[in-house]
């Protein structure tokens, strides 16, 4: 009797144990080692000694803040674009998938059956200067002959968006799928109609701003993309989004939005494969810098310091984001 009680009390901790052990061995210990390494001085030939060189953090930030900033911008944009693509996708599967739900979900995950590297390399073939996409457009005279997608920031952001799209779509699907349809019907019974004119205005503004940022980051000029994006935003806001969506569906989907954007943003900021394969020397990210510092320059302290700074920057961003969306609202919405 007593023993059963003891066991029952200990059970949660026992269940935690394997995961905790795993994290301690493969995360906490390496992270601690990395922290110690970041404070070393020396080189390959003289060896490295612990000098508690805290200055390296300041130096690394001063020297590499443009790459950090660029990574956060690229990762952020990729997250927003993945949301813009993933939300309609998840919504359609959850609400209109019918008998095909499982097939459609499988198709969302299907790219994961191929290696990350191969998927990105195949983008090089698809986006080649005279390849499948650009070749016909150039032949029709819609694009100038020198236009290219590969080796541009646009290709890097597009590649990251594509590679992490399932991470965004799946959590969104889960939270949308759980929504009780009767709540939406109830909203409609209570005269939730189209969302005009606010929807038109907000859609236009959001689309325009996103287009402006994307255009600037991708080097296509501030206004080339903002007009088409604003038009799409206006159309979506006017006809596709109703009050029931704004007041019921969206708040209930918040946990999925929160989880999906974190799962996309965190690996996207640290990604280096897309920038290496699809980018140019002007679009390399902090992950590439860390890799080069570690492997090519064998400057282990700086590489470690940069990894730590990146981790810290993401943690701070995460904290602010959780504050912004509000964890209470999250748990409240999920009930």
């Amino acid at each position: 009797m007593r023993r059963t009680l003891l066991f029952r009390n200990a059970a949660p901790y026992l269940l935690l144990l394997p995961g905790l052990l795993w994290l301690v061995v493969f995360y906490v210990y390496p992270a601690f080692q990395m922290f110690l390494t970041s404070l070393y001085t020396g080189n390959l030939d003289t060896g490295y000694t612990q000098t508690w060189n805290w200055g390296i953090y300041g130096e690394s930030i001063t020297e590499y803040w443009p790459w950090l900033f660029r990574s956060i911008v690229y990762g952020g944009l990729a997250t927003i674009l993945a949301f813009a693509l993933g939300f309609p996708l998840a919504y359609a599967i959850a609400f209109r998938g019918g008998a095909y739900k499982n097939v459609l979900l499988f198709l969302v995950i299907a790219p994961f059956f191929t290696s990350f590297l191969l998927r990105t390399i195949s983008w090089k073939i698809i986006l080649a200067d005279n390849g499948l996409v650009l070749g016909p457009l150039k032949d029709l005279g819609l694009l100038p002959e020198e236009f290219r997608l590969l080796a541009t920031p646009a290709a890097v952001i597009a590649g990251i968006t594509y590679n992490f799209l399932p991470f965004m779509t799946l959590p969104l699907y889960v939270s949308l799928e759980r929504i009780d349809r009767r709540l939406i019907e109830a909203a409609e019974d209570l005269y939730a109609g189209p969302w005009r004119p606010q929807g038109t205005i907000i859609g236009t503004v959001l689309g325009g701003v996103l287009g402006l940022v994307v255009g600037l980051v991708m080097d296509y000029g501030p206004f080339s993309l903002s007009i088409p994006f604003a038009i799409i935003g206006a159309l979506v806001g006017t006809w596709l989004i109703g009050q029931a969506f704004i007041r019921v569906t969206l708040p209930l989907a918040l946990p999925g939005i929160f989880a999906g954007s974190l799962l996309t943003f965190i690996p996207a900021v640290g990604d280096f494969v897309n920038a290496e394969l699809l980018g140019n020397p002007q679009s390399l990210m902090i992950g590439n810098v860390i890799q080069a510092r570690y492997l090519q320059v064998t400057d282990y302290p700086t590489a470690s310091a940069l990894s730590f700074i990146l981790m810290l920057a993401i943690l701070i961003g995460l904290f602010l984001y959780a504050r912004l969306i509000g964890t209470e609202e999250l748990t409240g919405a999920s009930i």
Binding site: N43, D45, L117, K124, G279, S283, L284, Q291, R293, V297
Partner: protein
């Protein structure tokens, strides 16, 4: 020329393509398991026979050549002749039969110099322990680094008479290996101009790499010694004796070309796909790629060529090196001697298609495959050799400072 059966994609990861490529790792692992497992059974019997035969075999040479035992050999992908079904390596089989030594061949165990150094060599050698390999193949500058760190065992040249007799002249007394007993060249490659003749016309000068003529349609190599080497040659410097000022001047030109957008990307092996896709028409390119990779991908409108620039080009070498403290040093030396037999080198060369460092291999090949033997990309004529430069060994400080400066110019 190129064997249609040949899996040309095998060379993709041969040079630094993408560090930490999980894919290559898996295939290397499978390949390594394949040989070891498949030769394991035969080896136990031959090994037993070999040990008793050892004294007889040693009679001729000065030392005692090894027989029996094991040789763990780490090499790059696509660097050994293999049967069409990929199940065995004929030259390695021959070596096993002749010597009774079991070879555990790590095909692709070396994926790129930096990763191999970090993953396989650094930790054990720093601690004074033997590595998991008895013989490794790494590029010149990595050899120089290992020698500098004291992590290399000297080859007992009395056990390798073929190596002494048949090493081509231009490999003797290299700056990092003055006595020619620390590194035995395995394959070399030349760095020069790769171009799509259909678009660029004939090219024979480094100058075009620094001009606006093909702006945004040319790539540089991410190997510092290749790209800086060509930049230095263009300025009239000798890569064999590059000074700090000369390095700075060469780097400044590279930096400017990258900043101005003349250079589309700074890449490893992947310029090959970009050329095939039409986006890149001019590249700092390795000679072997044109033979093995570009030709099969060519469309009728494309005409890929490789040229050794008139100003000169770079010669790099991947070398067999004995990592310090391996238990099977004698077996590794036996393999070096075996490879430097021109007959064996020619067999491997017919498959590998890089530059062969073994004198006499060409004569052997003239009889078996005259076309290959006369290919300047495999056996460069003397006037080419005269134009080829080798990057000098660097000090520890230079190595770090130069690679740091170079990665900065690359946008990192």
């Amino acid at each position: 020329m190129t064997d249609p059966q040949r899996p040309f994609s095998g060379d993709l990861t041969r040079r630094r393509f993408l560090q930490g490529s999980a894919l290559a790792g898996v295939s290397a692992f499978l390949a390594a398991c394949g040989t070891a497992g498949q030769s394991g059974g035969a080896a136990t019997s031959t090994a037993a026979a070999g040990e008793s035969a050892a004294p007889a075999a040693s009679a001729g040479a000065g030392g005692t050549p090894a027989a029996g035992g094991t040789l763990r050999f780490a090499n790059w992908l696509g660097y050994m002749d293999v049967t069409e079904d990929g199940s065995s390596y004929p030259t390695i089989e021959k070596f096993q039969d002749e010597t009774g030594i079991t070879v555990e061949y790590g095909d692709g165990a070396v994926d790129d110099n930096e990763t191999f150094f970090t993953a396989d060599l650094q930790a054990p050698l720093e601690a004074g322990q033997p590595t998991a390999w008895d013989l490794i193949v790494v590029t010149d500058w990595m050899v120089a680094r290992l020698i500098r760190l004291g992590w290399v065992d000297a080859i007992d040249t009395s056990l390798t008479p073929n190596f002494v007799a048949n090493l081509a002249e231009n490999y003797k007394g290299r700056s990092f290996d003055p006595d020619t007993n620390l590194a035995a060249p395995w394959q070399s490659g030349m760095t020069g101009l790769g171009y799509d003749k259909a678009i660029t016309g004939d090219q024979d000068s480094i100058e075009v790499l620094f001009s606006d003529e093909f702006k945004g349609k040319l790539t540089y190599l991410s190997e510092m010694r290749d790209t800086i080497g060509l930049a230095a040659i263009r300025l009239g410097f000798s890569p064999e004796e590059l000074t700090q000022e000369q390095f700075d001047a060469s780097l400044a030109d590279v930096d400017k070309a990258v900043k101005d957008g003349v250079v589309r990307q700074v890449v490893g092996n992947s310029y090959v796909e970009d050329m095939a896709g039409g986006g890149v028409v001019l590249a700092i390119a390795w000679s072997g790629d044109v033979l093995t990779l570009l030709v099969p991908d060519q469309t009728p409108e494309q005409d890929f060529q490789w040229a050794l620039p008139k100003e000169g080009g770079m010669l790099w070498t991947d070398n067999m090196v004995l990592p310090k403290g391996s238990q099977n040093k004698a077996q590794a030396e036996r393999w070096i001697d075996f490879y430097y037999d021109p007959v064996n080198a020619a067999t491997i060369e017919a498959y590998v298609n890089y530059v062969c460092p073994v004198a006499g291999a060409r004569d052997v090949m003239l009889e078996t495959d005259a076309e290959l033997a006369n290919n300047p990309l495999i056996f460069p004529p003397d006037e080419w050799v005269a134009r080829l430069h080798q990057f000098r060994a660097t000090t520890a400080e230079e190595e770090q400072a130069w690679s740091e400066a170079f990665t900065k110019a690359m946008g990192l």
